[in-house]
């Protein structure tokens, strides 16, 4: 918990989905800071690791993609690097987790959001409840990634024969490779959803490149969060829809 | 071996007792698996441990080490009382019918004539009754109570199955099962083979162990036949050649004797070697002794051996004691009576009993010369290796010279296998570094000695300066030259006495066999039994034709077997009295009406008529001997004697300790644990493992991988009693020394009940020492007692008493 958070406590408890560094700067358009530099670096290290893991993992997963080992200097290098990248991913993602877990706790509106998933897919956000920093889809990605990474690192270690051969039985290793493969497919699907959502929802990518989104983006997709941010600005009470 | 390795495939029953063929002779063991697979042969293993041979046996019976004679006499007793006797064989071909003279008796473990103070017998009464015709008296009806058969019956009567169980610890039903299977082989169409090795020889009554089985085989009619025989599995490659060539202090090549002090001249020497036949018409082949001896002397001393100087008889040393066996030599060494010890291809510090005593002896030498292809513990006895060899080098003044030699794979020559085959071999590689052949080293030493004797004279230089040394390169005689010399050659033309124009033997030619040897100095031959190995036809040992007429397993065109290329000794006994094979399907030779023919070289003059000449032509009787006259020091019949260290007193003769005539040096008595000594409660035995060969292969990486570290084997019961863990360290100690090793805790060893007392066995494999590639270990012979067989002084490695406790392992200082 950051000092900023403590400070804001004096007035009002900060909502879960307002993260350190989140802020609104009035203007034209309004600029909303969504991710700090550290968070962005953390994200991109994770993203790069995940991509490399996907590529190297897919190379070992199916012969039709074995050619991808060429990207890593051949089969031996791929085999040797993949688990280490996994370790990087694990710790990098752990950083993201610590940053984002609170904002990804379930909220009441998540149920409605999910119930109206067809509206989500059609982009009819006016029919959706006001959403905090993350909508249920983003939370699904977050928790999905978290869970799958745990599964992948655990099963990965069980099959990392170079160092951990002696610690598991062959039957356990077989379970591990199967679980690893299934989890990897899942995480890649989650990743596809994540990336696609970023592409589909225009104005999103800037959050992770420049750290900022426009006020309109926040209004459209994360209005509750925007209201909270406005409300937490010094000297302002957050206006609520009930007012 | 009376037979050959290849002949074992012809058997119906293999009895492995006193050995562990699968473990120590895996290559030869193929013929056992062959007999099992193709003939349906059965395999019995009798051993203190369920060993590798037992793993493929049809029946395994446990036995306490050192109790084999009780078991074997029990089998003979069983065969006699159940009429499992091949009578048509026993009556004509053994001395069962011979009558023993009055005065011979056996009682309470001793035969007549025992002198306790000398630990020896006066053996005069141990002879046949000689009739007025000068021949031994026989009773073909076997009615005479003093005929050998009746004496034998009486002698073995005590060894009933209950007694066998009491002495040997073999459960009665297991013993009876073995007896039943063995007894079946008394028919002429079933044979049994005995495969034994150091498990029988390395006892204070080793020779009698072997006799016990030989007697049983004779009763079953299994000597001289295909698939039968007494088959000694020799321990070293070429150890058979060692004994053949007389590399023992009391022998000269071909099992001739070194004279003793009682035989100062040639006439006296020959007077006890007349070997007059004891029955009419018998060959008594040793009557040719003089021919072999004179030819040997001509080979040794050439023109210096003449009729006038009794073929240089005076050159030969005359023994003042029975033999200078290694035990005696080390005893003398310890007493400071040996200055220089030449140790050629030999590692006595590891290979002989009571390491402490051996090391003390070596430390008293002025000089020790080691000739070996490998680094040995003996060569390094003065080096401090912590617990493994705790010495202070500063206290040892012995000068040690190591002369690296070639190994068998780097030089040319012949090796004699257990089946008496002399197989020529060629070098497979070049010797490393400065290694030289043993021949080169010995020749160089000889030439220098000869020079010194020539220059300086000396008390008696003649045997050295006159030694025949007519090699092309005196500095390095070739293996071919030595082999040709061993075979023998004609020195002077010999003409037919009936027709002086007819040349019988031509000077300069190789002899075709020992039949051509003469006692007039016209022939030379280094080792009569090897004669025929390198004839005018060339090197017979190098033959590699594996044709096998009749699928008989004889392979007469493969290498050369002594004597006379004969593959089964006493093979005349494979036929009945009329010369017809006992088992036509296993014909070996047969009488075709005019001569003996067949698959093997007949062990009888080819035209000797069947009912005339007995099959055992080396014996003056013409028969084999169930009762061995006075030819063995410890009795004409085997008697069960306990090992010198044993858990119980001798059940059948409580007053007799050990073998009553085995030699014990006075100082050594106090190094033996008392009978039933509670401080040393467990019966120890030492043995070999298949992964290693003696103390050689621990120098080899691969062998060291396969069996890296010293261990001892104990039963699960003993481990539980002493709190010893599988793979944990233990300390094992006898009254003479201690060792540390890992514990192999196994179901394959079981505690035994001996005379009502529980006896645990501790198995001690021997292969580790303080040099080599394998993990450092202790010589197993730290534990073993310094006493040997009464006849041939083979040490009692197989039975001794120890104690054991869990340990944290050796303290490596």
């Amino acid at each position: 918990m950051s000092a900023g958070n403590l400070k804001s406590r004096h007035q009002q408890p900060t909502p879960d989905d307002v993260e350190p560094g989140d802020s609104v700067r009035p203007g034209h358009p309004v600029q909303v800071s969504r991710y700090t530099v550290a968070a962005r670096i953390n994200h991109w290290v994770t993203a790069l690791s995940l991509i490399l893991l996907a590529l190297s993992g897919m190379a070992l997963f199916t012969p039709s993609l074995f050619f991808l080992t060429g990207l890593f200097g051949g089969g031996q290098w791929t085999r040797a690097l993949h688990p280490w990248i996994g370790v990087v991913l694990f710790f990098s993602f752990a950083g993201l987790f610590l940053r984002f877990w609170k904002a990804n706790l379930p909220a009441r509106e998540d149920g409605t959001w999910l119930a109206r998933i067809s509206d989500v897919l059609r982009g009819r956000e006016e029919r959706l409840p006001e959403i905090g920093k993350y909508n249920a889809g983003q939370k699904f990605v977050f928790w999905g990634m978290s869970g799958l990474i745990i599964v992948l690192i655990a099963s990965g270690i069980a099959m990392w024969d170079q160092y951990f051969y002696a610690f598991t039985s062959i039957e356990q290793k077989r379970v591990a490779v199967l679980v690893h493969a299934v989890a990897a497919v899942c995480i890649i699907c989650v990743w596809i959803i994540h990336v696609y959502a970023a592409i589909w929802v225009k104005g999103t990518i800037g959050a992770m490149t420049r750290g900022k989104v426009t006020g309109g983006w926040a209004w459209r997709h994360h209005r509750k969060w925007l209201r909270e941010l406005v409300g937490t600005r010094p000297g302002k009470r957050p206006p609520t829809p009930a007012e | 071996m009376t037979n050959a390795w290849t002949d074992i495939k012809n058997t119906d029953l293999v009895v492995i007792m006193g050995g562990n063929a699968a473990e120590a002779h895996p290559c030869g063991f193929k013929w056992v698996t062959e007999a099992k697979a193709t003939r349906g042969a059965k395999l019995i293993v009798v051993d203190p441990r369920y060993n590798r041979s037992a793993a493929v046996a049809d029946f395994y019976a446990p036995i306490r080490q050192g109790s084999d004679i009780a078991f074997l006499m029990g089998l003979i007793n069983y065969c006699i009382s159940h009429d499992k006797v091949q009578w048509d064989y026993v009556k004509p071909f053994t001395n069962a019918t011979f009558v023993v003279r009055e005065g011979y008796a056996y009682q309470d473990g001793l035969f007549t004539g025992y002198d306790e103070s000398k630990r020896d017998y006066v053996r005069d009464t141990w002879e046949y009754e000689i009739g007025p015709d000068g021949y031994a008296v026989v009773d073909e009806t076997l009615q005479n109570p003093r005929c050998v058969w009746n004496l034998l019956k009486e002698h073995v009567a005590i060894y009933m199955p209950d007694m066998v169980e009491r002495i040997c610890g073999t459960p009665k039903d297991a013993f009876l099962k073995v007896a039943e299977m063995v007894g079946e082989c008394s028919t002429p169409t079933k044979t049994m083979t005995s495969m034994y090795a150091l498990g029988w020889t390395q006892h204070s009554k080793g020779a009698q162990n072997i006799r016990g089985m030989a007697m049983l085989q004779l009763i079953l009619g299994n000597i001289g036949v295909r698939g039968g025989g007494m088959n000694a599995l020799r321990g070293h490659s070429n150890i058979q050649g060692l004994t053949d060539l007389g590399l023992m202090s009391n022998l000269i090549p071909g099992y001739l004797n070194i004279p003793t002090q009682k035989e100062p001249d040639f006439t006296t020497y020959m007077s006890t070697r007349a070997f007059k036949p004891l029955r009419p018409n018998q060959t008594s082949y040793w009557q040719n002794y003089r021919k072999f001896f004179v030819s040997f002397m001509k080979s040794m001393y050439g023109s210096a051996a003449t009729k006038e100087n009794d073929w240089a008889y005076s050159y030969l040393p005359k023994l003042d004691v029975a033999s200078y066996d290694v035990l005696r030599v080390f005893e003398m060494m310890k007493q400071g009576k040996v200055n220089l010890y030449f140790c050629q291809g030999f590692n006595p510090l590891q290979a002989f009993p009571d390491k402490g005593k051996l090391a003390a002896g070596l430390a008293k030498l002025k000089m020790l010369v080691i000739m070996d292809p490998l680094q040995t513990e003996t060569a390094r006895f003065w080096e401090d290796h912590g617990t493994f060899n705790k010495v202070n080098p500063a206290d040892i003044q012995t000068e040690v010279i190591q002369l690296p030699t070639t190994c068998f794979a780097e030089d040319e020559g012949s090796l004699v296998n257990s089946g008496r085959w002399l197989q020529w071999h060629w070098p497979g590689g070049s010797p490393p570094g400065e290694a030289k052949t043993d021949i080169w080293i010995m020749a160089q030493i000889h030439l220098r000695l000869k020079e010194l004797y020539k220059k300086e004279g000396g008390t008696f230089p003649d045997p050295i300066v006159n030694l025949n040394w007519s090699y092309k390169d005196p500095g390095e005689p070739t293996p071919e030259e030595l082999a040709r010399e061993m075979n023998g050659s004609v020195l002077v033309d010999v003409f037919d006495p009936a027709d002086p124009t007819k040349k019988v033997l031509e000077a300069g030619k190789q002899l075709s066999g020992f039949g051509q040897m003469r006692d007039d100095g016209t022939t030379a031959g280094g080792c009569w039994i090897f004669s025929g190995c390198w004839t005018e036809a060339g090197n017979m040992m190098a033959r590699r034709d594996n044709s096998d007429p009749g699928d008989a397993g004889m392979f007469l065109k493969w290498s050369f077997a002594w004597p006379a290329n004969r593959r089964i000794l006493y093979n005349r006994a494979s036929c009945d009295l009329d010369g017809k094979p006992w088992d036509p399907s296993r014909k070996l030779i047969e009488w075709d009406g005019t001569k003996w023919t067949g698959y093997d070289v007949p062990d009888i003059p080819p035209t000797a008529k069947p009912r005339d000449v007995g099959p055992f032509i080396m014996n003056p009787e013409g028969t084999s001997r169930l009762w061995v006259r006075k030819m063995m020091r410890d009795g004409p019949f085997p008697v069960h004697y306990e090992p010198f260290e044993s858990p119980v007193a001798n059940v059948i003769a409580p007053k007799v300790r050990g073998n009553p005539v085995a030699r014990v040096f006075p100082d050594d008595w106090k190094t033996f644990a008392d009978i039933g000594d509670p401080a040393y409660p467990y019966a120890g035995t030492s043995y070999r493992l298949t992964e290693h060969f003696h103390y050689w292969t621990k120098n080899n990486h691969v062998n060291s991988v396969l069996q890296p570290e010293q261990f001892v084997e104990i039963s699960e019961e003993l481990a539980k009693e002493k709190g010893i863990a599988l793979g944990g360290w233990v300390r094992v100690w006898s009254k003479r020394g201690e060792l540390y090793a890992k514990a192999v805790v196994t179901k394959r060893i079981k505690p035994m009940t001996i005379d009502g007392k529980t006896v645990h066995i501790v198995g001690v494999p021997i292969h580790w020492g303080f040099v080599g590639a394998a993990r450092k270990g202790f010589t197993a012979n730290t534990l073993t007692p310094f006493v040997g067989d009464a006849n041939i002084e083979t040490p009692e490695f197989k039975a001794f008493m120890v104690n054991i406790e869990p340990s944290t392992g050796p303290v490596v200082a």
């Binding site: 039957e171 589909w200 | 192999v744």
Partner: protein, 328 residues
């Protein structure tokens, strides 16, 4: 006696054929057209009932393959080393077993090593093209140039055979001496075996030979003697004659019914295809969605609303009926 295999010619011009591409029946992570003409199937027959555990095979294997195993320790048993390693392709395993029927001790000695399955699990699991090949005579061989050291073969193997070297990170196991077999010889272990407990020939010959052995064993009271040629892996090119073929597992854990683990089948089968399909579907769905639904853009109105909110001017309330989730 099984007829010994004659020594090869030592003439300098003697041909030295090796197995080539034309003889490959299966190749890991690759599609190959099976050869039109299959080589005669070979097999090694290990007759446990003839084995004396002398380890000559183990020594011959080390020597022929030029392997340097470590000098280990004694662990209270005769088995040494304690397990197969990248340098120990074959290992004598010793089991002391008390036959419950006879109460007799039996010392079961089994030569462990690659079974050269007709349906090799290692090859199935291997992700590296050509790291494992199966020749049309049945020999399953590792090609170390192609091996990436992932250890999937270990998971694929129903017999726990391959081991990864810590030195060059590739997988090792018995080659059935494919280099010797290619020149008409038997494997080194077979050559060294003193008791013909190991024999080598065509698979048919070996089965016939095994029949003779089984008949002999049955005559000695081993009613359950039999051949171990497990159908679960399509049969093997290393077979055992067992005295107790009804319970292979008493021989130091020889699998009773070996087959490629269903987990491995699932992993290398359905998971691979379904996984690829699911990932492809996800990507395609995204693409289609974009095409159909178009981009989700922020409108001018949104921006204005945001500005108003930031300025403290209340923006319009959301449409009624959408607030039930958040109304206190």
């Amino acid at each position: 006696m099984f007829p010994p295999i004659p020594n090869p010619s030592v003439a300098s011009d003697a041909a030295t054929p090796r197995f080539g591409e034309k003889d490959i029946l299966r190749r890991s992570a690759s599609e190959v057209t099976p050869p039109a003409q299959r080589l005669t199937e070979v097999a090694k027959l290990i007759d446990v009932s003839k084995c004396i555990g002398c380890k000559a095979c183990q020594a011959a294997c080390l020597e022929w393959n030029n392997l340097t195993e470590e000098i280990g320790f004694n662990h209270g048993v005769y088995t040494n080393p304690m397990d197969l390693t990248p340098d120990t392709f074959t290992l004598m395993r010793f089991t002391e077993w008390v036959n419950p029927e006879t109460e007799n001790l039996e010392w079961l000695i089994r030569k462990d090593g690659c079974m050269h399955c007709e349906d090799p699990g290692c090859l199935k699991a291997c992700p590296a093209p050509g790291a494992i090949v199966q020749y049309s005579n049945g020999i399953v061989d590792f090609q170390h140039d192609n091996c990436i050291g992932c250890g999937y073969c270990i998971k694929g193997c129903p017999f726990n055979i391959p081991r990864i070297s810590k030195v060059d990170h590739t997988a090792y196991k018995c080659t059935l001496c494919s280099d010797r077999v290619a020149v008409g010889q038997g494997p080194a272990c077979q050559k060294a075996c003193p008791t013909q407990a190991i024999v080598f020939g065509t698979k048919d010959e070996m089965k016939d030979w095994a029949e003779l052995r089984i008949t002999d064993l049955k005559s000695r009271g081993f009613a359950n003697a039999g051949l171990y040629d497990p159908p679960g892996v399509g049969g093997t090119h290393v077979m055992y004659v067992l005295h107790h073929a009804d319970t292979p597992s008493i021989y130091a854990g020889l699998p009773d019914n070996p087959r490629i683990s269903p987990l491995v089948d699932a992993w290398k089968g359905v998971t691979k295809y379904v996984g690829l399909a699911v990932m492809g579907f996800a990507a395609a769905a995204g693409f289609l969605h974009y095409v159909v639904a178009g981009p989700n853009k922020v409108s001018e109105e949104d921006e204005e609303n945001a500005e108003r909110l930031a300025d403290g001017t209340p923006p319009p309330a959301p449409p009624a009926g959408l607030q039930e989730g958040r109304t206190p």
